[in-house]
Amino acid sequence: MHLKLNFYIILFFCFFSNLSFSNEIKFIPINRDISLSQEMSILDGESNSEIIILDNLQGINIINFWASWCGPCIEEIAELNKFQENILTNSLEVQLIGINIFDKKADAIDFYLKYKPFFKILFDNKNTISVKFSVMGVPETYFVKDNKILFKYMGKINEEILIRGLKESANY
């Protein structure tokens, strides 16, 4: 009787652990229009003071939210750089933007200088953009097309997921 019960308990846990360790890429659908007029600083490793207004997100935009204190954000930077290289060499019609949130500007600059991302990196001066995108934590990557947030990916991202997200965005 006990053996049988133990067997079912193990079976139950195996079933759920299998579900949670599934390798399937899961995008979280959002489908919401976004209208922005957000003052941001461009981090360039030099002056870091050029201000731009992030407003028109026409075409496909992949927006990665990160913070300097976040481990997975450090781990994914090489993948994001790889993807940016892919965009440049294959002239892909997509813009990759990194936005630093939940951070101090000095720490964001240190991060920039240390890991040298070569896609556009912005710093949220007003500390409000996370609410506009409904960001829950870092890292999170949003796929935006023609001022509409299509879906997001939570957690560490890699080039494979970025390419899949780009393909799905193009089909929207």
Partner: protein, 125 residues
Amino acid sequence: MQTIKYTLIFIFVIISINGAHSENKIYDISNELMCPVCQGQTVAESNSQLALSMKEVIKLQVSEGKTKKEILNYFISQYGETILAKPPIKGLNLILWIFPPIILVLSLVFWIFNVRNNKKKNSLK
């Protein structure tokens, strides 16, 4: 000279009252919103980075003259109704409001019934 002095005091008092009113409004609104990444804390109670951003947004919208309802609706549009500390009394949320008092009343009835029954049994013995 005297008139200028009183005017300045008057302006200072008005600005202070207005500032305090805005602060109260910001606190009031942030107390009605749950921090989405915290365990049972409202935005007013939390010091998480997201809660701080949410407070900034509330402050900005209050300064733009938006009403409490408009600001709360904005947050509902961003995070869904679960962002509200007090779920609205409608639809499935009704269960949340109705069930606790019903269960309380039923428990009381059951308890009284049990006590009476026990008393009867004791008296029969």
